[in-house]
């Protein structure tokens, strides 16, 4: 049987920093006549002011409402008319905007992105703010409040982080804070964070790097640098007693969320924690799946994963009970498995298999110009080292049984743990 994939994946990155501080990175790839234009700003929910949760994400929505030279609904219309696709997303640490276009429309993407980076303020109105506030409140209703278990993660964050900690609230924010956001705050936020020297521009696809740099300068070069965007460092939470709580939801089956603080993206141990997630729950032979879902038939599902954050990381083990199974039983089974891992009770075979699965997903992560530009932009934003993207494969490949045991002993301990039960509001018997 074959062992690990050896097809190490490397990309040649070319980089230039414009006079205004905008970091531009190009990766040429002419396999398909498409190009990804990706702008990542180093601002996310962790930069929000007290009482203004959800602001960074609400702001992201406003960036699609037109700028000085782009009509209100122009972004979507222009990109779709060119055959492209676009989106944006907000994370704890950053906000990104990206479009994938046919390669002959590179300038369209640069025009749109530079206009909202340089000429946004004159186009923003109270009406647009109110409209997108309503849209975002509906996003919160649809994706969190009216979805089973939808409020669990924000509850865990509130329990796991101390008051005032930058990761203590979810990116979607809270309704009352969304209601409080004012137009003046929108302008202030833009001036503070949406500056070329607080952003990276990544171009991946069928273009020549020199032309990419020249066009980047032509479109973005005249935008003045910002006032120096204040950065926020989310401090690692020191070990403390385990925190536990229970919430009730309109669901039939109990679910447990076992959260641990974890290494940050780029920090030692991140890949080991990541691969450990595969060992625990990815695939039917993974430890937790095999035990909870297959052998003991206690749980309907189980997932273990670590989230890539810039600062002190987050990891979750989540499992949903089968009908008639107590959530306490599932929790103790999971903790027993984590204890086995910490004790080194793993086989080389399962360690190797979990590395293989992680490599497969990693290749998917850098497959396609949009995914790859995101990976490059994240490395540039979080680590100031875009070329880190070329180390990802070997870092995952280098994960060993010992390194997973080590990360488990350091992080998967009660002192870093927060446990939440989500229980049915009313007993419905769980029947179909």
């Amino acid at each position: 049987m074959e062992t690990r994939a050896k097809g190490v994946v490397q990309f040649e990155l070319k980089e230039r920093i414009l006079d205004n501080g905008l970091r531009v990175i190009v990766q040429e790839d002419d396999t398909t006549p498409v190009v990804s234009v990706h702008v990542m700003y180093h601002v996310g929910s962790k930069h929000e002011q007290p009482g203004r949760t959800g602001f960074a994400h609400l702001f992201e929505h406003l960036m699609f409402q037109g700028s000085e030279h782009v009509v209100d609904d122009g972004h979507f219309r222009y990109i779709q008319d060119a055959g492209g696709t676009l989106n944006g997303s907000t994370w704890f640490d950053r906000t990104n905007y990206f479009e994938t276009l046919p390669a002959n429309e590179l300038e369209l993407g640069l025009w749109l992105e530079s206009d909202r980076m340089g000429f946004f303020e004159s186009a923003i109105t109270q009406e647009k703010l109110d409209n997108q506030r309503d849209v975002v409140k509906n996003e919160r209703r649809q994706s969190y409040e009216n979805r089973p278990y939808g409020l669990a993660v924000e509850t865990v964050l509130r329990l796991a982080y101390p008051k005032g900690h930058p990761y203590r609230h979810p990116t979607i924010g809270f309704m009352e804070d969304l209601d409080s956001a004012s137009l003046e705050e929108v302008r202030e936020f833009f001036r503070t964070y949406y500056a070329p020297d607080n952003a990276v521009l990544v171009l991946v696809g069928d273009l020549e790097a020199e032309r990419g740099f020249e066009l980047a300068d032509r479109y973005f070069g005249e935008i003045p640098p910002g006032p120096g965007s204040p950065q926020v460092k989310a401090p690692t939470v020191p070990p403390r007693a385990e925190v536990r709580d229970v919430i009730y939801d309109n669901v039939q089956f109990p679910r447990v969320y076992i959260f641990h603080h974890a290494p940050a993206f780029g920090q030692a141990g991140f890949e080991a924690a990541d691969v450990l997630g595969y060992l625990l729950s990815e695939g039917k032979s993974s430890r937790l799946h095999r035990k909870l879902v297959y052998e003991k038939r206690l749980a309907q599902d189980v997932t273990a994963q670590v989230w890539p954050t810039e600062d002190c990381g987050l990891s979750f083990v989540v499992a949903t009970a089968r009908p008639g199974v107590a959530v306490e039983t599932i929790e103790s089974e999971i903790l027993e498995t984590l204890a086995e891992v910490s004790a080194g009770d793993l086989t080389e075979h399962e360690a190797e298999g979990s590395v293989n699965r992680a490599l497969r997903e990693l290749v998917k992560l850098i497959d396609g110009v949009q995914n790859r530009s995101d990976a490059i932009a994240s490395a540039a934003t979080f680590l100031e080292r875009p070329e880190y993207v070329n180390e990802l494969f070997s870092r995952v490949e280098a994960v060993t049984l010992e390194s997973m045991v080590e990360v488990a002993n350091e992080w998967l301990v009660p002192e870093r743990r927060t446990t939440l039960y989500v229980l049915p509001e009313k007993s419905t018997g769980g029947g179909g």
Binding site: G84, F119, V251, D367
Partner: protein, 459 residues
């Protein structure tokens, strides 16, 4: 960098010449056992996307055993003649492959995504689970329980409840009324014998197609390796059962499902078209204008104008027979009936206020200029090819598609809107706080109250 060239920001930059789209070239051959192979070398990364397409889907299920085809596919990886369920799982997980399956109304598709280093073993895996599944009663019973759990859990999700009730309300006695995985009563009737029988009838090489995209060997070498791998899989498949088109929806039908919450899930459904319908391309364009794109009428109205929703869209599911054409959204519950009215209005407006030249151009461009990015990664390519295989589309389908799109004019769009968008024969399903909106919804027609399972109920 000095000497910056001036740009005119008031103008959208002129595009360069449209790049020549290099659509994948197919290598086709057939193995000795009749298995069709489509191989496409694509992309530079060391990975392969494989899909095995069996042209039999959920419509083959006996009505009282709905879910059989889905359960059969799921059971493939739960033990073979050679290996126990646990051993199959270990084999797959050590290879690092990502296995997934899809059972829709028309076909069963088994997909395995893997790194090309494990090419031979990965295909050995596919061949073994397809040809020699064990269907051990113990494992089948477990799978059945898992499916029942899954069905039960769907009742916690308003969007799933709305999707299921839409099928029932729209399709009545036709198999399209049944979800592809069956419901509690039908899944309970399935046992290992049911699956063994379905397998012996439908899992045969002669009408199956194996699609391989990515880092794959040349045809000659590939066919030798596949003969060695799949040669032991033998047998002729039976004909798929015959299926009539669903009957027309005879009048407007409104279902309200009580479910407290801050939003209402809304579906407005009509009878759509079959995949083979000559109007397929025109309907694609009409749908793009109505609700298929972000900048479509329904989304611009409900989201960007009203702010009632995070998003609203329309889609059509063109199957071997006429599937649904429907709009879907989740809205702030206080605007439930207003949103239903606006969706109905937008459907009617496709006839009274036909597509403008700009709308037509946007829809056509979105459908044609997007092709390069839709054929970028191996899994994107294999997904498109799977569609070609299921619906017998020619290999050069995507080469000729842009011309077909360009040939559609405003009159065609108007014609298909007239043909399909009759909201007096629409099915309207709303899942939300029905006690609050029922009286107002009655203004649109007689409202039937249903429970989350679709049974008649009271508020």
């Amino acid at each position: 960098m000095a000497e910056r060239a001036m740009i005119d920001r008031n103008q959208r930059p002129a595009p360069g010449p449209v790049p020549k789209i290099s659509l994948p070239s197919f290598q086709r051959f057939r193995l000795g056992n009749g298995l069709n192979v489509v191989a496409i070398q694509h992309d530079d990364l060391p990975q392969v996307s494989s899909r095995l397409v069996l042209p039999y889907g959920a419509v083959e299920d006996a009505r009282d055993r709905a879910g059989t085809m889905l359960m059969t596919a799921r059971a493939l990886t739960e033990g073979t003649r050679e290996r126990s369920a646990g051993e199959v799982a270990e084999w797959l997980d050590f290879l690092g492959g990502r296995f997934s399956l899809e059972v829709n109304y028309d076909a069963t598709v088994l997909s395995l995504h893997f790194l090309s280093r494990v090419f031979d073993s990965a295909l050995d895996f596919v061949a073994e689970i397809v040809a020699e599944p064990a269907f051990e009663p113990k494992e089948v019973e477990r799978l059945r329980d898992e499916r029942l759990d899954e069905i039960a859990r769907g009742q916690d999700e308003p969007r799933i409840i709305a999707d299921l009730r839409l099928k029932e309300a729209a399709f009545g006695d036709h198999p399209y009324a049944m979800r592809t995985g069956g419901v509690e009563e039908t899944v309970r009737n399935i046992d290992s014998e049911t699956l063994r029988e379905a397998h012996s009838r439908y899992y045969r090489p002669s009408r199956a197609t194996l699609i391989l995209v990515g880092d794959v060997p040349e045809a000659v070498e590939l066919s030798e390796r596949l003969e060695a791998t799949f040669g032991g899989w033998q047998g002729d498949a039976t004909d798929a059962g015959s299926l009539a088109d669903p009957g027309p929806i005879d009048g407007r039908r409104l279902w309200a499902v009580q479910r407290p919450g801050p939003q209402s899930e809304i579906r407005v459904g009509l009878l759509g078209i079959a995949r083979s319908d000559p109007d397929y391309t025109a309907v694609s364009i009409m749908n793009a204008i109505l609700g298929g794109l972000f900048s479509s009428r329904i989304n611009l109205n409900l989201r960007e104008d009203k702010g009632w929703t995070y998003g609203a869209s329309s889609r059509f599911d063109a199957r071997k027979r006429r599937g649904p054409l429907y709009a879907a959204t989740a809205v702030d519950a206080t605007h439930t009936v207003g949103a239903v009215r606006e969706i109905v209005k937008e459907m009617e407006r496709m006839k009274s206020d036909p597509a403008s030249d700009d709308e037509l151009k946007l829809a056509k461009n979105a459908l044609t200029l997007s092709l390069p990015r839709l054929f970028e990664t191996p899994s994107q390519v294999s997904r498109r090819v799977r569609q070609q295989v299921i619906y017998d589309l020619p290999d050069d389908f995507w080469e000729t598609f842009p011309d077909e799109v360009r040939a559609v004019d405003r009159a065609d769009v108007r014609r298909v809107a007239d043909r399909l968008l009759s909201t007096d024969r629409a099915v309207i399903v709303v899942v939300g706080p029905a006690a609050d909106f029922r009286a107002e919804l009655e203004e649109l027609g007689r409202v039937e109250v249903r429970d989350a399972h679709g049974r008649p109920a009271d508020l």
